[in-house]
């Protein structure tokens, strides 16, 4: 047993507990510092994970193969820590809108992070379920945190009910897989999965597990909750839900599909193609009439789940690495957009697109950030979103010889991108060319949030212009499935 592999997880859990206890000693006006301290601690962990000292970047497995530390796990752990750092910056700015329990808000974000770290390393259905529940249950609370607002409570209840339903599907699926094969470990299951391919009960089990994961990533037909929850939840929660929770769903999806049941996955090529195509179309078409910014981004996140599924559906190493690269770009882009929303709507009741009117006069930095984020989501060069979409489409087209369905899928994805231009540019138009600008008071930005915004902008450009480093990391991580 090699428990030192879990250094990051243990540190993050300890940080969560310390933040919770810090509430006792910190006076109310100093609560902000708890958030910045968490940012500093997580940055330290990120540096350690990159520096290669300690056991953080070592490969290996622990707890009878339940916990695995490989390239993929390390890639996703860094991803989750970066996401949590940027979300915590946002949470500090948001703290004046939370009625009570600011320290708890920070510490719950950190606990959700610990669940994501475990998800990145889960190599066993028990760990998969426990990690997913840790993430989801924390998000139930984070979603309904502004309980003075009815929309926040409504979002929390909706997420709770649908989340519990999807969990029950997943646990039922795990039970069926266990009942037929007697294996829970992904590698052990892969060794015997081929002989159960004809067992309908086994396939049913795998399908039910995919239902649970499909809910996490908001793929069609399990996307119903996303717009309502994105709209109602506090903005930092929404950002973390859009990036962290979705990425956790994807890492588990990759592991289940390509490590645990690769033979079944190969048979389900058409299913994956269809789900990916419908998800892209649904997200983009439903986003068109939206006027609420967070709801619009909710639909856009459904569309992006579809784009990311292109990488899964391609069933190839290049598809998997393109998915990882796209997720990295998506992280900076989406958090940039939500940070701007969080800052602009500080004194407003709603998150309507009209809130952005005149933003270029109120704060040029925020206006350009939002413009870049929308352009990156739409896939305009030279930003991260363009290169990510290019890689995904390339991976899909490479497989065209295997199945002509891939050409249709690539065409659908392109159509989705074209549709999405309309609503993303609607947001940009609202910033620069609004007719009736009511509020022209400049927006004051604190130093730390400027840093966070600049990190996001740098990330978008860096991934778009110098993709080599990130692409190498993604390729390295995707090698896990090649073995």
């Amino acid at each position: 047993m090699n428990a030192s592999l879990m250094t990051l997880e243990i540190c993050v859990m300890a940080l969560g507990t310390v933040l919770m206890l810090a509430d006792f000693w910190l006076p109310d006006e100093r609560k902000k510092f708890a958030g910045y301290a968490a940012v500093a601690a997580l940055t330290g962990l990120l540096v350690i994970s990159f520096s290669g000292c300690g056991a953080c970047s070592l490969g290996g497995s622990a707890f009878n193969g339940m916990f695995v530390q490989d390239g993929l796990a390390i890639f996703f752990k860094r991803f989750f820590i970066v996401a949590a750092i940027l979300v915590l910056f946002m949470a500090v700015e948001f703290s004046d809108r939370i009625a009570g329990g600011v320290s708890e808000y920070y510490s719950l974000i950190v606990f959700a992070l610990s669940g994501m770290l475990f998800a990145a390393s889960a190599n066993d259905f028990t760990m998969l379920f426990v990690a997913i529940e840790l993430i989801t249950i924390t998000f139930y609370i984070l979603t309904s945190f502004q309980r003075g607002r009815l929309v926040s409570l409504e979002a929390g209840v909706k997420y709770l009910i649908l989340g519990a339903l999807s969990s029950s599907f997943m646990v039922f699926g795990i039970a069926l897989v266990w009942g037929t094969t007697g294996k829970l470990n992904f590698n052990e299951l892969a060794a015997v999965a081929a002989q159960f391919e004809t067992s309908k009960i086994f396939l049913f089990g795998v399908l039910f597990i995919l239902v649970g994961l499909g809910f996490k990533i908001a793929a069609f037909p399990f996307q119903i909750w996303a717009p309502d929850v994105y709209q109602g939840a506090p903005t930092p929660t929404t950002a973390f839900l859009a990036v962290g929770s979705k990425a956790a769903g994807f890492v588990l999806l990759l592991r289940v599909l390509f490590t645990a049941v690769p033979t079944v996955t190969a048979h389900w090529m058409n299913l994956l193609i269809v789900i990916s195509a419908i998800t892209i179309l649904y997200g983009n078409l439903c986003a068109l009439p939206q006027r609420n910014l967070k709801r619009l981004l909710g639909y856009s996140s459904i569309a992006h789940a579809g784009y990311l599924l292109l990488g899964v559906a391609a069933l190839s190493a290049s598809g998997q690495s393109a998915l990882l690269y796209y997720l990295a770009g998506y992280l900076f882009t989406v958090i940039a957009a939500f940070t701007v929303i969080c800052l602009v709507t500080r004194h407003l009741d709603n998150d309507d697109v009209s809130a952005l009117a005149g933003l270029n006069q109120r704060s040029p930095l925020l206006a350009s950030t939002m413009t870049l984020a929308m352009a990156s989501l739409a896939g305009i060069p030279p930003l991260a979103g363009f290169f990510g979409k290019f890689l995904l489409l390339k991976a899909v087209l490479e497989q065209g010889a295997v199945n002509p369905g891939y050409y249709c899928l690539a065409f659908t994805a392109l159509a989705g991108v074209v549709i999405s231009f309309y609503y993303y540019f609607g947001v940009i138009r609202a910033i620069y060319w609004s007719k009736n600008v009511v509020d022209v008071s400049p927006i004051q930005l604190s130093g730390p949030i400027k840093v966070a915004v600049c990190i996001c902008i740098a990330g978008m450009f860096w991934l778009g212009i110098f993709p080599t480093t990130a692409l190498d990391m993604a390729n390295e991580a995707a090698k896990v499935f090649g073995k």
Partner: protein, 178 residues
Amino acid sequence: MENFQNLISETMLPDMMFYVFAALTLLFGVLVVANPFSRNPVTSAMFLVLTIISMAGLFVLLHAFFLAAVQVIVYAGAVMVLFLFVIMLLDLKEEQHRKIKMVAIIAGLLSVGTIVAIFLKSLHATNLNAHASPVTEGDTALLGKLLFSQYVLPFEVVSVLLLVAMVGVILLSKKNLK
């Protein structure tokens, strides 16, 4: 306990008991949602208790004694008390008089019918005897050992989950928003 185990393993009793408990589970389950005599939610909750207890009987037949005990103590005991509290706290006068919509009935029957059909078909297609499922032995000591050796990591993560849930409940139910 020894005698009882001998009795149920030697005779045809287990088979018979299975049908009795399965029938009771189904019967009480139906009475929870569609009781022709009463639409009182408390009655429904009481039938849910009976459903859970008859399911505990099924667990005993599978030699999963620990699960059976948990089923009775946690679900029939703790969770049901919670249910009853919630039912009594809510004002359910309107619910009692509400008519169930035809569309809801049809949709429900349709989805249940589909799931049952698919399940029967897959059960039919699968040879259950070919790979016998692992023998479940509901020995509490063994379970405890497994929890603290092979499954210690998920067990510890669940403890964090419980901490988070506890903090969440306190936060969301605190009386005054300061």
